[in-house]
Symmetry: C2
Subunit: 338 residues, 2 copies
Amino acid sequence: MTAADRVVGIDDVRVAAGRLSGVAIRTPVMRSDLLDELCGCRVHLKAEMFQRTGSFKFRGAYNAVVSLTPEQQAAGVVTYSSGNHGQALACAATLLGVAATVVMPADAPTMKVDAVRRLGAEVVTYDRTSADRAGIAQQIVAERGGTLIPPYDHDDVIAGQGTVALELLEQVPGLDALMVPVGGGGLIAGCATAAKALAPGIEVIGVEPAAMPRLARSLDAGRPVGVPFVPTVADALQTVAPGERTFTINARLVDTMVGVADVAMVDAVVILSDLVKVACEPSGAAALAGLLTSGAPLQGLDVGVVLSGANLGLVDFVARRQQLLDATAARSSSMGRT
Amino acid sequence: MTAADRVVGIDDVRVAAGRLSGVAIRTPVMRSDLLDELCGCRVHLKAEMFQRTGSFKFRGAYNAVVSLTPEQQAAGVVTYSSGNHGQALACAATLLGVAATVVMPADAPTMKVDAVRRLGAEVVTYDRTSADRAGIAQQIVAERGGTLIPPYDHDDVIAGQGTVALELLEQVPGLDALMVPVGGGGLIAGCATAAKALAPGIEVIGVEPAAMPRLARSLDAGRPVGVPFVPTVADALQTVAPGERTFTINARLVDTMVGVADVAMVDAVVILSDLVKVACEPSGAAALAGLLTSGAPLQGLDVGVVLSGANLGLVDFVARRQQLLDATAARSSSMGRT
């Protein structure tokens, strides 16, 4: 087996957990009797909105930056991100005294762009529909030096994200299933690695926007395949293809994929606010949306659900929800006319 | 000193804490660097939205019901409440196997009415603008028997609410000031009792809707005085006069009163969601609204802020916020025309 063939294992996740100890927040697991009733199972919510920078992304970013040599750290880090990874890398770099540059889409929520700048990183924007974000980041590295830390397709990032499931299974040892939102697949790759090592019988379920079923299609095809870009309310999950390294892991360890509609994610955000009293962004609530809409195949079981982040402001959330309601109303009224 | 003169003391709060141990949730104290920057001081948020039934009210209700004799418990309990105390009493009574009846205004949020029913209590509704809720509750007691547990003007209720500050000062011993939302004054009476006993130099600051400054007026007058009913976004703080027992305590222990506008409470809810990732209702965010709008007299200090509850659904909150924005826009446009 060559170095390129070696994939992230439980030992890498444990090493990451050691590095993150005392730096990352050991986020709480939250419960609600009413939510259990709604879902027909015992739901254990891993609340990563309380993580540093408001999402799980800090875990992978910090693990990647702290793994660099002092020379690499001195040259700085660069990434591209719809926001959460950008904030996470900016925060991790600042904590470690490393300079960071973040390439972000021009239409990313203001709150996310501002947060990255405030955390001390330089922001370079691009047009999401035309430009290639990875290409822009690589060009910056070529011109200025530094190390590219991509948002998901990177072993240290994957290992860091795996600490979410490592912690959750320490907090709730008897989980029957684990539901995880899927964008590029880094979170679920790390979580599946940890979960299957600690609880071999656990069912690992990925949840992605129904409009962009990259991982489901790729698992069917047996190789990473892309899907067209479709704007969804889940701006943190809008990747068009799985990563190569994440796909290698996910093809082996992910048991089931579920697709969720925008309205299901928005509803899950409202339910989390009302019943659990926590803020969550639609992308972060995707796994719960999957559980709420999947017709209760997990009835009576203990189900871990990763709430991955909360970096969409409440006012922006309200506006997006209203757009979605208006669009739904317009569709049904035009259907009524035919 | 007769029994009627005796007011709640720190020993009563400690006894309540013992009864609540293992039953009530020891809620977390939450922090945010960005919130500290906004407020100009170190803000320690006591997160009572994570309390049983979504507000601090469970503490007082349980302490009152558990203090009844077995004969009294067998006859049931009755109360009137805009919602949070009703849910709390329903929950406490159910836990203790006691029947509960709750008198609620007909315009209370659906979520609150449903929650009280689901917790096993009988709900009797009345018209908030015409009928006397306390009178209705007393009539029920006269007809059916049972004990009236009022929402705030009751020693065991006050002592129970005091455990909020008792816990907070154990969690953060060096507080310089404590800010507490004020409705009927039970929460601040209990909290001031505990806080002044544990930290005699602490400044206790009450925050009430600017439109209904009952406690501020009463403190000025040296006796409980009423104010006209004015609908505010803070439906849990819409009492027209302080309680007699709460006033006796608050006249002695409350240092400062602050009034907050509806829009300040709504903004505080948004800030809590965006920065702290927690859901809060406008009434529950009143103390933070007071801190955010009081012009930083507490600069550089350690300030405890009680977030008292989160039982307004997100969809209802969004609707009320929109009404407020529309009303503000209509006012400034009509001012522009004159």
